[in-house]
């Protein structure tokens, strides 16, 4: 397409010419001479290409190798996950089992030591002393006894303190008298026998007991029914690392 020049030919105005322009007019002087290859313009490109290729190929190859090895270890990985999940489940179940076993200690420790106390008390009564009554629960006991004199009842206190199930520091007498009513006591622990005129009312507490302590206690009292239960339970406790 021929450009339309609206400027008349006889005009003095100069037409724009690319070669004469300020911007492009001098470009001819800078034109390249000779082939592009000869002038080694490719060198930066080659260096850049090589740099990119080398810095890429190293991680690329290692990455492929890692991926290959990972795919080979997938089975072990799934086994590992399975094993850890099973161990976690087994440990949780085991912990629950241990807690259940420890809970069973209440079966033994919450019981009042009725038989061991009665057994040991029978062996601790001085010959001149008569036991009128006793009451016990899982933690405390009290008893009423009659004797010919104070000394025989003091012997009873000493023997009570020496009993294996009794806390010796807790044993104390609430009264000890020929006539408790003379002391202002309303206690019914009063002897009717002229041969055993002195009465005493004693109180005490039992020692805190672990299943292991109870095993010894029932064994010493020849209560083999309870002893065998405790022995089985304590061996189980020992296997799970004690009652802590």
């Amino acid at each position: 397409m021929t450009p339309i020049n609206f400027i008349p030919s006889d005009s003095d105005l100069l037409l724009w010419d690319k070669q004469d322009s300020v911007v492009f007019g001098t470009s001819e002087g800078n034109a390249s001479s000779g082939s592009w290859l000869q002038q080694r313009y490719w060198i930066p490109w080659a260096v850049a290409g090589l740099t990119v290729a080398i810095t890429w190929i190293f991680p690329f190859l290692n990455n492929r190798s890692a991926v290959f090895q990972i795919s080979n270890l997938e089975f072990e990985h799934s086994q590992f996950l399975q094993s850890t999940a099973r161990i976690a489940a087994a440990e949780k179940e085991f912990d629950q089992q241990k807690a259940d076993i420890r809970d069973f200690s209440a079966l033994f420790t919450s019981a009042a030591p009725a038989y061991p106390f009665a057994f040991n008390l029978q062996r601790s009564i001085p010959s001149q002393v008569n036991l009128n009554s006793f009451v016990l629960d899982s933690s405390d006991f009290n008893l009423c006894a009659f004797g010919p004199d104070y000394e025989s009842l003091e012997d009873l206190i000493d023997l009570l303190k020496a009993m294996p199930v009794v806390d010796p520091n807790s044993v104390r007498f609430m009264n000890m008298a020929y006539d408790p009513s003379a002391l202002g006591s309303s206690s019914s622990c009063q002897s009717l026998s002229p041969l055993q005129p002195v009465s005493t009312f004693l109180k005490g507490s039992f020692l805190a007991k672990t299943p292991s302590d109870l095993e010894d206690l029932y064994s010493a009292a020849s209560d083999y029914g309870q002893y065998n239960k405790l022995r089985l339970y304590n061996s189980l406790l020992k296997k799970i690392g004690g009652d802590n």
């Binding site: 490109w45 270890l73 086994q79 069973f104 029978q122 036991l131 009128n132 629960d137 019914s188």
Partner: protein
């Protein structure tokens, strides 16, 4: 502050000195046609080819770094970490298998033992055969079982009264027991009764369903001891909560009192009255 104001004033002065007309006049030298006809080949011809090559290669490196190299290194880093983890897992696997086996063996062994201990507490309803425990034991130990009555859970009862010096058999707790004719002949029961009744909460009830029974017994003290011992010989645990033992003084015979012969004083040797409260634990479905 003053120096800042001075600088500001100087800057404003400099702005005032700018000749806007002269600066705009410079634009007249630019030929609009030059700008219209610029093409890329013109720029190439105009620019230094070596410079273009260097700039291009730098751009290439940049693009390669961003598009290829960095993602590949990043991916390699992630994969090498994964590989390291998988390798260590593979090394640990035999140990884990041994641990699991050991744990299962231990659990099985303890489970067997626990099954025995677990049977100390029945899972079945025990009301039906509980009385058998008590009656059989009384026959075996030659102790008279005067009565058994079940107690409601949480029902208050007296055992040891902390502030009382009395050791009285609380008859109010066994209203259903038939009156014992032998007892009527013996010493009169004490007229003082422990007044406050406190509920006794057992640790057992925290773990098990607890069935509580109150027993009234009479017999020789040594036989009563046997009774307590024989109760422990059942596989089912029978846990004593409270034991009250009272001797029953035998009053002197009329002959002895009148001085015809014998000892005129009451004798304390002989039978004892016993109140025994026993917890019989029972496993429920949710319990161990």
């Amino acid at each position: 502050m003053a120096s800042i104001m001075k600088n500001l004033r100087d800057a404003i002065d400099k702005l005032k000195q700018i000749d806007v007309g002269r600066e705009l006049g410079k634009l007249k030298d630019i030929n609009v046609e030059d700008l219209k006809n610029i093409s890329l080949s013109d720029l190439r011809d105009k620019a230094d080819p070596m410079l273009l090559s260097v700039v291009g290669s730098v751009l290439l490196v940049g693009a390669g770094l961003y598009g290829l190299i960095l993602p590949e290194w990043r991916s390699w880093g992630v994969n090498s970490q994964t590989l390291q983890q998988y390798r260590s897992e593979a090394e640990e696997l035999p140990l884990l298998r041994a641990t699991l086996k050991n744990l299962q063996k231990q659990q099985e062994e303890i489970g067997d033992g626990f099954d025995v201990v677990r049977n100390f507490v029945s899972a079945e309803s025990i009301e039906l055969f509980t009385s058998k425990f008590f009656s059989e034991t009384s026959r075996r130990s030659n102790v008279r079982l005067l009565g058994v009555n079940p107690m409601r859970v949480g029902e208050p009862f007296t055992c040891i009264q902390p502030d009382q010096a009395d050791l009285l058999f609380d008859e109010s707790l066994s209203p259903d027991f038939p009156p014992d004719p032998d007892q009527m002949d013996e010493a009169a029961p004490p007229d003082e009764l422990p007044s406050p009744e406190a509920p006794l909460v057992s640790d057992l009830s925290r773990v098990f369903k607890v069935n509580r029974f109150q027993l009234s017994l009479r017999g020789n003290y040594l036989n009563v001891m046997d009774y307590l011992r024989y109760l422990n010989q059942y596989q089912q645990t029978l846990s004593p909560v409270c034991l009250e033992v009272f001797s029953t003084p035998i009053p002197p015979s009329p002959d002895a009192v009148s001085g015809v012969g014998g000892n005129p004083e009451p004798r304390y040797v002989g039978e004892v009255n016993v109140k025994l409260i026993v917890d019989v634990p029972q496993r429920e479905a949710s319990e161990p």
